[in-house]
Symmetry: C2
Subunit: 314 residues, 2 copies
Amino acid sequence: MAVFTPVSIDEAKGFLAGYDLGEVVELTPIAEGVENTNYRLETANGRFVLTLFEGRTDEASLPFCLGLTAHLAARGFPCPTPIEDRAGAWLGRLNGRAAAVIEWKTGAWLRHPSEADQAAAGAVLARLHQTAAGFEIQRENPVGPAMWRRLADRCAAGASGEDRVLLDQVEAALARLGDVFGADLPGGPIHADYFPDNILFEGGQVSAVIDFYFGCNGAFAYDLAIALSAWGFDAEGRAMPGAIAAFQRGYESVRPLSDAERAALPRLGEAAALRFTLTRLHDRIFHDPSKLVTPKDPAVFLRRLEHWRAVETA
Amino acid sequence: MAVFTPVSIDEAKGFLAGYDLGEVVELTPIAEGVENTNYRLETANGRFVLTLFEGRTDEASLPFCLGLTAHLAARGFPCPTPIEDRAGAWLGRLNGRAAAVIEWKTGAWLRHPSEADQAAAGAVLARLHQTAAGFEIQRENPVGPAMWRRLADRCAAGASGEDRVLLDQVEAALARLGDVFGADLPGGPIHADYFPDNILFEGGQVSAVIDFYFGCNGAFAYDLAIALSAWGFDAEGRAMPGAIAAFQRGYESVRPLSDAERAALPRLGEAAALRFTLTRLHDRIFHDPSKLVTPKDPAVFLRRLEHWRAVETA
């Protein structure tokens, strides 16, 4: 579950005294999510999300992440806007954490998206790229190649057995891949975590894209490669060609790829596979058994590497 | 109906090319409202309202009106926020009119609000006053005493029969009332048109306050007096004491009135009754029969004057 920092209703009331949200009616922990603490907050003004940012979310990144969602929402893009306190600020402190109140968006994420859903999700990702264009704040990818190196070195200190085998494969792929982001591809603000559980649907349409806390500047095609790696593979990491094609078709219906982007996509897919394999491997090796979050299997993400490599060499 | 300026789907597409709302799917006239032209707009990003501002809405007022809703929505108050175009502007031009795209809010206005609904609407009006506090732009009331004088003089030139009788009553009341806004009461941005058809409900709660185009700076108690005059009387203009009490109780549950405000309320109620009687009388006398909007009966609003006067002298 995703309450790492408990908040009592009285603590929430104290924090929300700085906001114009009216009386706090109810505070309910939200089970989903593995990075930050989230509560569903009912006030006299309606329903909101109260988020406390936990260790992995760098506070310095929050003006980018919250600002990007505010920029997108102000332009009609379906994502929750952060709520301003009386001083016009999005961020406060609660129980030792940076904390924010976020608009509540209705909808549910899809466990089994159809190809039409895949195409809709792809189109919305392309619109995200287009709509984010004028956003001014910059943020380097917090899980870029420098962090991959750090994660791999940390893993090396603790890996054994199956983890060691995986790490060796990761190291070999890293060495082979080289400087994957060297090409001068079109880019701007990207979501960088466009997984199905961050895309809410309602009535067959995307009602909200949530969780921009890995958002950063990067190549649009890398964001697409991450998304294809998230949406286009089954639970065992096997490619679902129909899903991949539908998602990419939806994306390109809004923003067609250039030849350079299309050529770069398989290698960017390998990079995406490595990035998520590495964070999952690290989380499994250094998992705190007192935490109730179950580590995700890194092997199913590494399997995506084979798919992208096959596409690349085809 | 409320389409004074027709917009074709191609004209809408041309206008919306300046926005990041994705493909325009559908454009449907909205029948409600009597001041501006409104279309329901479906795009790839969801549902919106496309508003063209007609003659009575002074374009110079729009930065106040749109800015106030954006200020309120950013602080979690339930009202639709205006959507920014690619340049970050809320206003453009379409078919010779100032035009804006506004967030779509779900809900419906209540023909027969219960006392619980009255109290909820009152509480939300008080929150509007509290949440608007930090808003910086100023706008004088466009339908204040100077405009009452102009409207009455214009009516005098065209009134006959029943209208003439009404106008004489209005003139007598204006003379008796004197400078109703002289007292130094607490104030700030007010809605100034807080009628039931501008308050949407969903699931027993206020889901949105809409139509801030009469919004201006003024005394909070005058806004309450307008709202009580709108919510607390039946179709014939007879006071419904239970409704008035419930609305005011809701308002004061959030923002208790000062003694000075409570003392001023009946005279402000008379002012509200005069204000709406005058605009309705003017609209009826100078009604363009080619317009499909049916003028509202001014007499039922003048009847409210008697109620407020009875309260005042009690």
